[in-house]
Amino acid sequence: MTSEADESAKRTPLYDLHVERGGKMVPFAGHALPVQYPLGIVKEHLHCRRAAGLFDVSHMGQVRLSGAGAAAALETLVPVDLLGLADGRQRYACFTNDAGGILDDLMVSRLGEDLLLVVNAACKEQDIAHLKAGLGPSIPLEVLGDRALLALQGPAAAEVLARFAPQVATQPFMAVQRLTIEGADCLVARSGYTGEDGYEISVPEAAAEALARALLEQAEVEPIGLGARDSLRLEAGLCLYGQDIDSETTPVEGSIAWSISKARRDGGARAGGFPGAETILRQLAEGPERRRVGLRPEGRAPVREGAVLQDEAGKAVGKVTSGGFGPSVGGPVAMGSVASGLAAPGTKLNAVVRGKPLPVEVARLPFIEQRYYRG
């Protein structure tokens, strides 16, 4: 059954293909995207963990910064070592605000002197304005509005993509390279949002549908919608901007302090120098008051975003930031923000669902074994 998305929603270059494959189209961050295909969310999820899934993530923003000063300039907006980012490598980063909160999370890749950024669709306009204001006119910024983005994820992704471009087989995790695939000038990153090995492929809009069709013709590949994209990233313990992290949450509170490079920390070569540095560096030294943790509900009922978390005495100690059913786990999984004293794995809490306290236990993330390519 296909329901038409809001007319105002933008169509990606794969819109017709989604409809043809029976995608249930919904408005998402201003775009019409499939929440699921006829296979359904659970089977799509399991297929991606078992073989390979193709995702249309063309709604995400792609931005190119060029010129020799780009890395140094971008370092003023993110707590990440970009001068040390080697050609052909990628890093995860956050734009921070003056209070240390996260304005958006993004991937930064270096190709030659250029930096290529992938930002969240819902934050795209705000990010571009933030970049222009923060980088100044001397750093050329180009929004790559004519490129689509496909993600091919799963244990069979490498074998599948290598049929089109053998060079990807040994491409390291978090590496990027320019490749011609099916005649199209693509930028291929070995990373993703599922916890599985896989690639994100930036492809010119005009060539996107042909590439997607060629990948879907491979026996291992099924198209995967937004529903399974969310359950896959949740099981992998990956943050969704706007839920698990937001402008009120610092990278330390969001348990993504690993993304803050050594060079930008106290004692590093370029310590501080990003918005909110004082707060973030203090939290790194002293620990945050609250932090993101994994949560395993003890029963079978899913515990969803917004549910209040209580300690065993019934006092509110945090809230669920993402939650749902984990098809690979075979039960409910969630993440939440809790007072730091209650963040140790094994801590018993309750999540209030429909007025009733349901027992949950703080759990290590990720819920599944991450299977990134390690060479």
Partner: protein, 124 residues
Amino acid sequence: MSDTRYSEDHEWIRVEGDVATVGITDYAQEQLGDIVFVELPDAGRGLEQGKEAAVIESVKAASEINAPLDGEVTESNGALADEPGLANSDPMGAGWFFKMKIADAGQLDKLMDEAAYKAHVDAQ
């Protein structure tokens, strides 16, 4: 003889004597997607037409199942609680939710027959 009626909320109600068996329709399960959890009412619980009787959670979201009639729960489907996917695979059969003793048979007249329900779905 049993008679199956339908509610606007996409429930089916199969009536045998003064007992109604309640479940969700094929249209409802398709709209909900993969069902991963159900919370069913215990036997003996009084239900009021239009008020929450059960909770159903798909991968995507939680929804309420409202009582289609006034009455008292006589039995809930333990097999469904153990295997919520039955509501997807056999919504009109093994995926039933609960049985209830009908308090006011007159309420049945306001429920739809199969033809009216089909028109209701086509209008969605």
